[in-house]
Symmetry: C2
Subunit: 273 residues, 2 copies
């Protein structure tokens, strides 16, 4: 049973409020219920949100935690005046000292995702998603010259989710290419990749974990057997060492951690202006 509720209130999607609020609340050993209230962009909707928050507080007997990223001052005012929750104003808290430091006023414009759909950065993300999909699992050898990075590794080492994450979040064209037994026999990288050695980054994984993952897909198969996983992983790592390819082990890492490491190692995170 949860002890109380945390609300994330935003005039936009509320994704920022939720991401950040949850990260902070994860610092406490506490079962909370999370409710996101997006698109609260009029005083009317703010009053509705306040009713929901106050009602929850009465039911639970504890005041809700309310993270807000509201930039509309009228909407924020409704919460400040009527909400009985603990109000944590994530924007105002930092915007005010920044106005001092920067010597300019903030423009109180809503939502980092509003009106981005026609921006160049957004078009780049969509293009990267399409690219990564078309170049998933070695599906296409065409156009590898346009890849920002090419992930290689044995089947189920984490290449697909990582490629899609890099494309979705960073607009990076990430192709991925499996290393298969035929490559190990030939003791050579797949032919199509040879011209692009510098763009290659490897993913490896502990054989025990790999066997677990593969067994969920194809139980009792030779493909999933620990002996085969050990063989493939050791061959793949030997090949990456031989070819001078940078790689990391994904065994205990999340997509986000893998992607962050790749961005760093491959110097893909160009400073944004």
């Amino acid at each position: 049973m949860h002890s109380r509720t945390a609300f994330f209130v935003s005039d936009g999607t509320g994704i920022t409020a939720e991401t950040f609020g949850k990260a902070i609340l994860a610092q406490f050993e506490l079962k909370l219920r999370f409710v996101r209230l997006p698109f609260i962009d009029t005083a009317d909707k703010a009053h509705q949100a306040v009713r929901q928050i106050n009602h929850t507080g009465e039911l639970e007997g504890k005041r809700p935690i309310v993270f807000t990223t509201l930039v509309n001052m009228e909407v924020l005012g409704v919460l400040q005046n009527h909400c009985k929750g603990m109000l944590l104003d994530m924007f105002g808290t930092f915007v005010n000292p920044l106005e001092q430091e920067l010597g300019i006023k903030s423009h109180h414009r809503v939502g980092r995702f509003s009106n981005v759909s026609r921006s160049r950065e957004y078009a780049q993300r969509i293009e990267a998603i399409n690219y990564s999909l078309a170049h998933d699992d070695g599906q296409s050898k065409r156009d590898l010259a346009n890849a920002d990075v090419i992930l290689v590794g044995v089947s189920r080492s984490g290449k697909t989710p990582t490629s899609l994450y890099l494309a979705m979040q960073y607009g990076i064209k990430a192709a991925n290419y499996p290393l298969i037994p035929e490559d190990f026999e030939r003791r050579q990288l797949p032919e199509a990749l040879l011209p692009y050695r510098k763009k290659i980054f490897g993913l490896s994984i502990q054989p025990e974990r790999l066997a677990e993952v593969r067994n969920e897909r194809r139980p009792q198969s030779k493909y999933a057997s620990l002996a085969n996983c050990r063989h493939e992983v050791s061959e793949a790592e030997a090949m990456m060492r031989r070819e001078g390819i940078r790689w990391l082990s994904t065994t205990t890492k999340s997509i986000e951690e893998i992607a962050t490491t790749i961005l760093q190692e491959m110097h893909l995170e160009r400073p944004t202006f």
Copy 2:
């Protein structure tokens, strides 16, 4: 030319710090350079980060803005004592009043993405990504009973990026299915979808915008012509109205806004405990 640099310093990936910091800085009309410094989890690395930040400040003649989500107090201490930037401690600012309110101490454990790779929630995300990939663009009719949502719409209305985003960020199994001229002639939804009407959500788009997007793919084709786009969109919208399918227009919306609306309308965002 940028006027100064903003750093995002974290003991984890720094994704939270960067997302939130950029959202705040977007409130100012100002060209900033952004630098993320992830995995700063020892005093040594903190001293390195401080050197980089202070050096940048000297070069630019303005103190850098430094957003931190450090939970390691020793690491944070190094920045507090030696960093000449404007330090905005995003964690401490909210964790301290929350400790008061909740009556418990925070545990200062690093990173919302650390050690998640074996969690049930994480496994669900990976499974959802694989599901959405396998059910992209009507590729598979099998297993639609397991979909959390099935997106329909004409080609290039935004189904694929939205499905992948829902899977990646929320662990939602999102299939997507194109509405094609044959469906309009038969005046019926694709056969395979009929048993799952309640899970269907539609995406539409302005014909003018659709023609633009399709022309990038297949210039001068009938497929991309404004007349054809107008016809397909009006047929698709008529079908969705006839079938009682909820839908939205993606024309000016980002993936994040589309996904948030779908979560709300389809009641997919179960409160997390």
